[in-house]
Amino acid sequence: MNKRVVTIASAGALAVVAVGAGLYITSAPAFEPVGMPAPERLGGPFTLTNEAGEPFGTDDLIGNGALVFFGFTYCPDVCPTELARGAQVVDQLAEADISVTPVFITIDPERDTPEQIGDYVSLFHEDMVGLTGTADEIASVADDYGVFYSRVEMEDSSDYLMDHTSFVYLLDPTGSLVWMFRPTDLVESISETIRQAAG
């Protein structure tokens, strides 16, 4: 009998907590989108080469949204952080039935072969597409998207690093660039911004 009283009391306490949580959520401030609308001069169709060595481009992305990242596989610090964050966004959106394809485009086509890129992107998300191309093709896409990159030679080393801008580009289901996120934008905020844009 005593045990039953305790159970009822617990249920009552839980109800109070639940109502409290509900009030807290409804009183939360309105959501502010993160990132910025992409300037009209940026974006455009592209066709590059995927992990299998086959042509892949914006035509193949039609019907889905896409999150496009520029980077290089020799980069062990910033690029993985960005791609792992992107994968989280894609998964959060999938839960809301919003299909977005993560796309990684190398700015280091000299070293990033299709195979190397394939190994790299599969670390982050099974649906992630990894693209490379000739130096001219990559330069052209980077120019269209306003991506700055430059090769940095290292002293006493045959290795080199790449400086690059690290915005994340959102393409709508027609393949048009609509929005840009900053590397500092939080995963939850990016997901919510896309959710609202898609809603």
Binding site: T73, Y74, C75, P76, D77, V78, P80, T81, E82, L83, A84, R85, A87, E115, Q116, D119, Y120, S122, L123, F124, F148, V152, M154, S157, D159, L161, D163, H164, T165, S166, F167, R182, P183
Partner: protein, 161 residues
Amino acid sequence: MFFRGIKYVRAVMVIWAAIMGTAAGHEYQQGDLVIAHPWSRATAPNAPNGVAYLAITNHGAEEDQLISVEAQVSDRTELHMHEMTDGVMRMRPVEGSIALPAGETIVLEPSGLHIMLMGLDNRLVEGERFTLVLEFQNAGTVEVEASIESPGAVLDLHHNH
């Protein structure tokens, strides 16, 4: 002194691991320095480079310097710094050493200061560990184990103390 220090660290590690029951949150003490949670990221099969991070707290009254790092898993290492200027991420080797001011914690973390592992012998596999040897100006040499986390892991070492 150095070897006694290492033994002490090992003893602390064993006790610490027993208390925590987990590989996370390991730390090492050498002289006035506490080195918290060295960690790394899993890499792709043919990735040439990897990365390692850790936090160093200097409990002493004098500044120390992290002079060099050696890794068991790569040909060589470099200390690198990321800087964001005008939206462009630039990665550069750190000139000289990393200063460890008295009473402060220096955190090596994603998109900031980090240890680049150049020329990996094998891919780094999540869940495994490897040895890093840190050389300090005053505290001498200390050997630590870095735990390999997921490829894009971001661990926050700012609140470990």
